[in-house]
């Protein structure tokens, strides 16, 4: 080990970066889940409890979907940059280097953001296609 102190500092920074990207892996599906629960809960309040007007609920939920999708686009763009497919063998990322792990987490986050985006669009479809409670 050439410079112990320098090395430790670098490790710490590397780790906090990666702890962040590990969290970002789960971010998109968690946002999907939050959106899903919000849709389910507000429609129940509107249609079962009768607290909210259904039409306004429906339109607000559609607006929330749009915001969620914008977040996903931003998140997906960040993940794409972390993955950096232009830097060669995009599918492998199978070596024991820090850079491979870093790019792997970017790739996985990108794909999960994509699937969460699709799932959010799916959840929004009933809001667009069905009107009213019945």
């Amino acid at each position: 080990m050439t410079d112990q102190g320098h090395q430790t500092n670098q490790d710490r920074k590397e780790f906090s970066d990666e702890a962040g990207s590990l969290w970002r892996i789960a971010l998109a599906p968690s946002v999907w889940a939050g959106h899903f629960v919000l849709c389910y809960a507000s429609v129940s309040l509107a249609c079962v409890r009768g607290l909210l007007p259904i039409e306004a609920t429906r339109l607000s939920l559609i607006a929330v979907s749009v915001i969620v999708l914008v977040v996903f686009v931003w998140q997906g763009w960040r993940a794409w940059r972390q993955w950096a497919p232009e830097r060669g063998h995009p599918s492998a990322l199978s070596e024991g280097k820090a850079e491979d792990r870093h790019r792997f987490l970017g790739h996985a986050t990108f794909l999960l953001t994509l699937i969460s985006g699709i799932a959010t669009v799916y959840t929004t479809l009933p809001l667009l296609l069905l009107e009213g409670c019945r």
């Binding site: 987490l105 996985a108 799916y122 069905l130 409670c133």
Partner: protein
């Protein structure tokens, strides 16, 4: 010594990591070979004679676990055969309707709770240490405790059939049928299976911590075997899926035993709450079964293709994505319950969306196979069968996810056909592939190729003969769960075909059982790596050695056997880590979560009987209430707690004999860590996540009643006493702060202050619990669901306060006897973590019982 207690020295890993190629090329130190191997062998030796059953090693516990689960599966299969005989022809009476009800209830319950989920745990307990090059799981005694609990619970639940007392309200136990059912059947289901669910959660904690912390040095997250990724995802799903069911069981059993009307509409209850809680568990459950089985395929496919998997990140995506999406599907079991159409739409959409990640993994497998040179080995035959059958089940799944189609076939044999296609294709066939693939790893012998092909074709053909016509039976309108049917409805022929097919499946399983159990003493040992696989587990020893791995390797690729030069020689010659056991202790290496940097030598536990004692008494605490024997149940519960405390006190987080240990390749590691670096802290964190989910389910119940019933809380309701609830909230908050204060002062060497904080915290906990009990005393829980729910919240919080109190006293005793010191402080870290979770749930409960209930 004084300097140590004032500013405790916490050693860090020392020495070079990662090792260079030159270091690995050096000769192993002299005398390492036979002496160290003997020491290691001695330490890990499996007990012999009757003491064999005290073993806790993952290989033994895993074997018992999987054979027991397999035995329960055969029992459940025999129930299915008996049902098929009863249904072979119209208007016959091979068995009574009541017995038929017991049989179909137990068939489903046993297949789910006694076979599918435990089988995942069993297989993972066997394989995971091998896949990760670890010597054992981080908490071997926890695995053993889980196994013995599973055995007791399984025998109890299944044994009830022999006394004609089995549950008979269907495997999803819908109220009011199940709540009103006379006899102990429903109680056996609720309490017996809750007991097993607790064991499942224990196993999930073990597997998650194992995957996160016990990977070999260098195995970063992007190098993990795919099976480990799936274990992580499924473990996480168990934590979020099982607790709602446990919370549901808790409410259900309170209704059965004490007449608290959670599901009784005449007193404000609602049977729909059970359906929600059951299916929030029940649908993810399907994926909890499916994902680990498909994970086996992810291990076999690269071996068959003799090349690395194509689309590793894509498979990780689909595992994680499926894990999440599977929680948005539960209402597709409840399409016909009258929910708003828009709500049905959300669940229908999510049910269609989950197809995407599921499909991605199958396409990644196909791409791997197309890119490689396929050798059609026997396990691949089973995988091919699995893909064919699962795809069929998936297609009917896409149909059933559409609410209008489901309205037509709801509760018909079409659904039965669909779910058997998904479960046979998604679980049974891949697991069979896994048995053939991993048998040489487990038993060091191979199964018969010829018998294996016979078993495959019998089961594959029999399966399709049984279940393909069942789609038609269902479309013709035959409902599920009827014990017989009249002539002339057009159901006779398809039913008879299904019955014949069922016996063909049974013949296939008979061939398999014979192959599995036939004596193989004269058969030669298998080659070390019979399938020429590239993953770490095939570095096992033939003939068997008890240590798991001669030395714990440094990993820098996904397929070390293919891609790391001289890998096997280096493992073999003990050139990697921990090739010896100088202190005569069982050890494995703990690494960091993301990059697997070595951080600790973990001492793991040895064979014991305390796990059996703890399991028997825990079993008593669950089983006696089935027969309304509450005093023996309480005595059992107390004894179980004592046994567990003895086990923890004598063998966990004890100060080690030396602070650092040389693990080889110039690396020195600490032997004791506390807080987030330790396995125990992670186990507590994960357990409490599950516990918090269960508590959230009860809170969900509160808001569910409020949403579905405008008279909740009833306008004239008596609320929990405001003053007492406020006192409870303040006392629990104080208990929490004092526990945290104890951790800080202890760490700074102010041991006296820490002890005082713990004692005051314990007192505070008692005051909080007493105040909460007092707050609900004027309420009559049998009169209406609202007071019943207040009581249920009180029971939940007071029970957890009891655990919190025991933990505070445990730390206090540890501090007084020198087990816990400013340097060796793992206990107080774990206890304060428990208290964070408990404090949040206690304060939420107090808020609900106090202001929220009054405002709504």
């Amino acid at each position: 010594m004084t300097s140590r207690s004032l500013s405790p020295l916490r050693p860090k890993p020392e020495g070079p990591f990662p090792p260079t190629e030159a270091m690995l090329d050096e000769q192993a130190p002299q005398g390492l070979d036979s002496d160290s191997a003997n020491r290691l062998r001695e330490v890990w030796k499996t007990p012999t004679g009757w003491r064999y059953w005290s073993a806790v090693n993952n290989s033994e516990v895993g074997k018992w676990y999987s054979l027991t689960a397999f035995f329960f599966m055969l029992c459940a299969g025999i129930l299915a055969l008996a049902m098929r005989v009863q249904l072979a022809a119209p208007d016959i009476e091979v068995m009574s309707a009541d017995r038929y009800n017991q049989f179909f209830t137990m068939h489903g319950s046993a297949m789910m709770f006694l076979f599918a989920v435990p089988m995942f745990e069993a297989i993972s307990i066997i394989l995971l240490p091998g896949l990760l090059g670890a010597r054992d799981m981080p908490f071997p005694r926890l695995s053993a405790f889980g196994y013995w609990s599973f055995l007791i619970g399984g025998v109890f639940v299944l044994g009830s059939l022999l006394f004609d007392a089995a549950p008979r309200a269907g495997w999803f136990m819908y109220p009011p049928l199940a709540t009103e059912d006379a006899g102990p059947g429903s109680d056996i289901w609720l309490l017996g299976l809750s007991f097993i669910e607790v064991a499942s959660i224990a196993a999930a904690v073990e597997l998650i911590v194992g995957t996160l912390k016990c990977r070999p040095p260098g195995m970063r997250v992007n190098l993990m075997p795919l099976y480990a990724w799936y274990v992580l995802v499924v473990g996480g799903m168990i934590l979020f899926a099982f607790p709602p069911l446990i919370a549901g069981d808790f409410l259900f059993e309170l209704e059965r035993s004490f007449d608290w009307p959670f599901f009784d509409p005449t007193r404000g209850g609602d049977p729909m709450l059970w359906q929600h809680l059951f299916w929030i568990f029940g649908h993810p459950e399907v994926y909890i079964i499916f994902l680990p089985s498909i994970a086996i395929a992810a291990m076999i496919v690269p071996t068959v293709a003799q090349r690395p998997i194509v689309g590793y990140s894509w498979i990780v995506l689909s595992a994680v994505g499926t894990g999440f999406l599977s929680f948005g599907l539960w209402v597709h079991h409840m399409y016909t319950t009258g929910l708003p159409t828009l709500s049905l739409g959300f669940f229908s959409a999510a049910s269609e969306a989950v197809v995407i990640p599921t499909g991605v993994q199958l396409f990644a497998f196909l791409a791997t196979l197309m890119a490689g040179r396929i050798r059609m080995i026997l396990p691949m035959l089973w995988i091919a069968g699995a893909l064919a059958i699962f795809t069929m089940g998936g297609l009917t799944g896409v149909m059933l996810a559409l609410a209008p189609f489901d309205f037509q076939v709801h509760d018909t044999y079409f659904v039965v056909a669909h779910l058997h296609y998904t479960l046979f294709g998604g679980m049974v066939f891949p697991v069979m592939a896994g048995v053939y693939y991993y048998y040489p790893f487990i038993a060091k012998k191979t199964l018969s190729e010829r018998l294996g092909r016979w078993a495959f074709w019998l089961i594959f053909t029999g399966f399709n003969v049984t279940f393909l016509p069942m789609h038609l039976t269902g479309l013709l309108g035959m409902p599920r769960r009827v014990y017989t049917y009249p002539e002339g409805l057009g159901w006779e022929v398809t039913n008879l075909i299904s019955t014949v097919g069922a016996f063909v499946i049974a013949a296939g399983f008979a061939v398999f059982v014979w192959d599995l159990l036939r004596p193989k003493g004269s058969q030669p040992l298998c080659p070390r790596n019979p399938w020429k696989a590239g993953t770490l587990e095939w570095a096992h020893d033939v003939p068997e050695e008890p240590w798991g791995m001669r030395s714990i390797p440094y990993i820098s690729t996904r397929y070390p056997l293919w891609e790391q030069p001289k890998f096997l020689d280096r493992v073999e010659e003990g050139r990697f880590y921990l090739p010896d056991a100088e202190e005569g202790l069982r050890e494995t290496i703990v690494t960091s979560v993301i990059d697997a940097r070595p951080i600790l030598v973990q001492r793991v536990n040895t064979p014991t009987w305390i796990t059996h004692i703890a399991a028997v008494f825990t079993g008593g605490a669950f089983i006696f209430p089935t027969f309304h024997l509450y005093t023996p149940a309480i005595v059992s519960g107390v004894l179980a707690v004592c046994a567990i405390l003895y086990w923890l006190w004598t063998t966990t987080a004890r100060p080690p004999e030396a602070d650092m240990k040389d693990v080889g390749l110039g690396l020195r590691l600490p032997t004791y860590v506390s807080g987030p670096e330790s396995c125990g802290w992670w186990a507590m964190w994960i357990t409490m996540l599950g516990d918090a989910t269960a508590f959230s389910s009860i809170v969900f119940g509160f808001f569910f009643y409020w949403t579905s019933n405008t008279a909740f809380p009833p306008p004239d309701a008596l609320h929990a006493g405001a003053g007492a609830v406020a006192v409870a909230a303040a006392a629990f908050a104080a208990g929490w702060l004092l526990t945290i204060a104890a951790r800080f002062t202890n760490r700074r060497g102010r041991v006296g202050a820490a002890r005082a904080a713990l004692a005051a915290g314990a007192l505070s906990t008692c005051i909080g619990a007493a105040a909460l009990i007092v707050s609900v005393l004027p309420l009559d829980p049998t009169s209406h669901v609202y007071p019943a729910l207040m009581w249920a919240l009180m029971v939940w919080i007071v029970a957890h306060a009891g655990v919190g109190l025991v933990m505070q006293l445990y730390c206090l005793a540890g501090s007084l006897t020198g087990k816990m010191t400013p340097r060796y402080e793992a206990d107080i870290w774990n206890v304060s973590l428990y208290w964070h979770f408990f404090a949040v749930s206690a304060l939420v409960a107090c808020a609900l019982m106090g202001p929220v209930a009054r405002l709504l």
